[in-house]
Symmetry: D2
Subunit: 373 residues, 4 copies
Amino acid sequence: MTTMTKSHMVVAQNASGRSMNVPIYRFKGAVPGPTVYIQSSIHGAEVQGNVVIYQLIQALKEQDVAGEIILVPNCNPIGTNIKAGEYTLGRFDPVNGTNWNRGYFFDEEKVYAFADTVNENDDISTIRDDFLTYWAECIAEKLASPWGLGLAQQLNLKLQQLAVNADFVLDLHNGPVSTRHVYIPEYAKDSATLFNFPHCIFIPNKFAGALDEATFCPWWTLQDALSARFGRSIQFGIEAFTLEMGSQEVIQFSEGKVDAKSILTYLTAKNALPHSSLAPAAMKRVGVMLKDYKTLFTQWGGMVEYCVKPGDWVKRGETIARVLNIDELDTEAGCFAVEAPCDLIPMLHFPSASVLSGTQLFKVFTNYFTLTE
Amino acid sequence: MTTMTKSHMVVAQNASGRSMNVPIYRFKGAVPGPTVYIQSSIHGAEVQGNVVIYQLIQALKEQDVAGEIILVPNCNPIGTNIKAGEYTLGRFDPVNGTNWNRGYFFDEEKVYAFADTVNENDDISTIRDDFLTYWAECIAEKLASPWGLGLAQQLNLKLQQLAVNADFVLDLHNGPVSTRHVYIPEYAKDSATLFNFPHCIFIPNKFAGALDEATFCPWWTLQDALSARFGRSIQFGIEAFTLEMGSQEVIQFSEGKVDAKSILTYLTAKNALPHSSLAPAAMKRVGVMLKDYKTLFTQWGGMVEYCVKPGDWVKRGETIARVLNIDELDTEAGCFAVEAPCDLIPMLHFPSASVLSGTQLFKVFTNYFTLTE
Amino acid sequence: MTTMTKSHMVVAQNASGRSMNVPIYRFKGAVPGPTVYIQSSIHGAEVQGNVVIYQLIQALKEQDVAGEIILVPNCNPIGTNIKAGEYTLGRFDPVNGTNWNRGYFFDEEKVYAFADTVNENDDISTIRDDFLTYWAECIAEKLASPWGLGLAQQLNLKLQQLAVNADFVLDLHNGPVSTRHVYIPEYAKDSATLFNFPHCIFIPNKFAGALDEATFCPWWTLQDALSARFGRSIQFGIEAFTLEMGSQEVIQFSEGKVDAKSILTYLTAKNALPHSSLAPAAMKRVGVMLKDYKTLFTQWGGMVEYCVKPGDWVKRGETIARVLNIDELDTEAGCFAVEAPCDLIPMLHFPSASVLSGTQLFKVFTNYFTLTE
Amino acid sequence: MTTMTKSHMVVAQNASGRSMNVPIYRFKGAVPGPTVYIQSSIHGAEVQGNVVIYQLIQALKEQDVAGEIILVPNCNPIGTNIKAGEYTLGRFDPVNGTNWNRGYFFDEEKVYAFADTVNENDDISTIRDDFLTYWAECIAEKLASPWGLGLAQQLNLKLQQLAVNADFVLDLHNGPVSTRHVYIPEYAKDSATLFNFPHCIFIPNKFAGALDEATFCPWWTLQDALSARFGRSIQFGIEAFTLEMGSQEVIQFSEGKVDAKSILTYLTAKNALPHSSLAPAAMKRVGVMLKDYKTLFTQWGGMVEYCVKPGDWVKRGETIARVLNIDELDTEAGCFAVEAPCDLIPMLHFPSASVLSGTQLFKVFTNYFTLTE
């Protein structure tokens, strides 16, 4: 029988000296199966994932699990609780600007060092187990740095320790004003159609500090190193995704149920839910390579109306924003339009009408392609 | 012919020593008429009023004005430009928390002192002119305080000097997530139906620092003092309103046109637009006395889905919010509902799902009544 | 024997739904005596009071207490933990700008209502006990407001409930860059020399929301009402002070010991420490009436060197600040001096060189007088 | 004769649509000589450099210059003007946390591409001029990115365009609470003793985004590439430094004069001031390699007294900080000491007593060595 347990892990101490902890929910199946790790709200204002985990828990309480599913909602108790005005200043450490999602561990050299110790005859599950042990030690060693580490990095590494054994890692995020989209490592592109996400971004083996990268980069690097060395394809089947569940600062229980179903569908395909018969929805899915996922920055400051919605299919030349210039309300220059520089699908736009020069106005798909109709 | 002029007024200096100014647009008619003062964005994140002024200017360029209309968009250049995360920290001075809309001048004793100087035979326009002069001097004297004044107060008083001669003052605001509503002094309640606002809040002669109050409190106090003294009703016809044009952090040009029309309708009724034939829309309008305009504060912290929209008519007992408790996702306590304590119409709700105890969750009409069907 | 107990009181819940509490240390003597309430850090960046309470606790552990001493360090767990950059944004609620020290309860009408119920023959201790009960009920009723209350007010009222029975209330604060000074109600002016504070500000019976005022205003108002009614002086001997223990953002253990001794000296004089022989230090003390405690605001923005230190005796015309104008470094206007407009003693100055127009540059004693040489 | 000119360069637009500019002061000598670029306050709270530039200008007005000296005070008009509480939130873009000093341009591959085009017979000044032209084009191309760039990067690149022709680049910074220290590229280590800085940090050819690195990395990389290729040492003599002029949030005119003299001494040695006879002060200078410049992070949260001052020589085991634990004021755990883990010299410490876990408590020299006695 599947058992559910709940515990808490201390991840920081505040200025009052109080411990700050995260809740950990675990569903452990009676039968073997994959290990799944799901967390939400590493960026404090991105809260919909917490509802998704709530809905996942409701669903998992009703069925058997194979292997183990670990769920960590609200995984950043500091970022969740910094208000600046009515909104949550949840994207970075307010002390120093450090993005809460850039301090996970990866070190290419350490992967290569491990790869050198592998024998051609080692079977894949042995390599895998050895690397798991090795990598957990690397993380523990980093966390034990003699002069200490910054707050975001400490938090990230403690969460990474929870995720290190997982076969499948899902990090639940939101965009500012956003439609649903998912980041997928290129080697796992077949999994794009196992979720019910309409927009898929395929990313290369490049580490920038996030949890999904910190999860798949070591395995990807190891796969490539061993495949090259042994002259045959070696795959470990570890997958990690960043799922963007709509807009920040908002929760919606009914949407959370839809989101949870999308995740349960993936887990079904990955054999974590032996009695589930969920299958991916028949739906339009489009994909884009990361290099074609563009950020449109402003060259000007002003007040902006966003004229297209995330998810809209926009043609080159269409007005995507209209800008007000407060000092020219009586002239032609009082208002001007921003046009789409090419065909595009906006995934998200800036959440405020007030915009300085150099603002990320939109992030958009260009050169996108159809995955499923 | 109506002439349009534009100028700028310095209202502050920043830490670089640079002057910060506000744009002033004036339409001066060839024929006499009332003086109208309209400003927007004293709270920096409340930007829709800037678009409304833009649309007003487009409309005023096409017609004649009687008297003068003064428009000051973006009247708080400091508050508009303080970002904290992606949003605008526009409600208060970030240095000391002072609300940008609480430092206008009013002093009841000074009104009484003036009232004592009025002769029973003085005609109303003489009293009016004398008081205008007197009150302008009071404001100038305050602004010249020998030890200086705080930034918000300096800003407020400089704006008030622009507004002091006005017969009609409109201060354009927004709520957090909000429907359109307007604050109206009780003595001018007939003007409630001259705008196209569905929701009207009637406020007493009480000063809390805002521009509308700073405008009508002196006249109201003077009216009452003279009426009592001379045993007959004395009215000056000065009116001032705070107009809440929907939600903060958003501009919409098309809605701004609708909002502008609502204001032009009022100005038509007040004889500022001699050739305009705009008449108030036939629409449902409800009113509430300020004492029945309630703020619902939370007793708990958590993550909230807002289940009713501003403007909805809600029955007692209906679920207005649903709260997620991150540490109890596996139990009955994982989620609970907040119910309407009585029949109500929410005007606005908090703009973030993340809520501490003591948060203004909703502001609502209770005991509301119908003004027009 | 004196007993020490420690407990915690929940004062808020954060957005994670976690309770936030304050520590309460109580020393209860075996013999009767006054009740003393001491709190620190209602403004989150003003932390020296926490060390003072630490040093008080060390001293109180070594001696007997008469009555009870209640100590609440770090009494604002929200304000203490809001960082904005490296500093603590501790003066106001970051959501709405509400000063954390303005929401305590006082209602003059309710005091008069009570005063009307007092009989001329009631002895003073009966009046006192009855009023304590009555006032505690008033606070409880406020706290139970059916639509709820804001976060700062909830926090304030819960702390006020701890303080309501106290004869002597000390609220420990800091200035920005500041020398030690104390606020004293005019009627308790004799207590100015019972502390070892060099600077004393005498304040009238006027409520602006702070804890000291919320403590003494009701008693002062009651005293005045009963004295007037019965034609004789009625005194309850309740005293409350705001103690400014130097600069914010800094703790110093050795200074904390000095500060603690100053407080213990006062408590000795008030018979709370039966075996203590501490007597006030022979030292220079100067006083000022609140109306002569001036804030010097800037009319300009720029970068400032503060040329006098808090506590300095400054003559009219002396340079108190020097201002840099970034755009005029090559001209005479590159730098100018701010002169003292009269003889003064600065108590504090702004803690940053970067100053907008309307900044509180200095707060200063003018027309000060000597209390002790 | 040396001529002084002043101009302004637009670097951004704010949300009101207003241009934000930086002042540029240029001293151009009648005789040839090096080009010098000096800027200050890229981090908005680090303001002492503005006074240093003021003092430099006063000194330069009195003497002849060879070549050109370009001075840009207050080079970040956005960062200078973001207040969060009384302090300046000047280290990073408040919208997204981007450090204002990490967006300058460098691209190793582009240097190698240039190096490949150099002929062995080209004389060094030709190579230099060609590279200057080439590199300026690279920066211009980056700045013209078709989808735009973020605000910090736009600002950085515009400043870098001013600095690109300079032989000597000085970027004036401050630490939080800090003593004076300077970052020096290892290849220019002889210049360490040309300033009057007591503490010198030697850094390798590694780019992390700052202006000093963006200045010397291309030349260093080019030197190494050409030296390797041609088998002889090739040096261009370009130098760039980050100078830390004490503590942030403070200006001091007299100290600024001392700082200016230190810089003028360096410029004298570099032949920019033909009539100056300034020579480096005889003083103790210590150096450290970057790898031995350690950051001590906390593992705990609490309130901290800093027990050693920046610049102190501290022995292993000495108490460097004392921490208060608010919940244990009555026990042994109420206070504990942090000890120096080795012999060290603190350069700076955190500027607030309130500290979360993972805070940069101190940055310290370890394994330091004497440069001059």
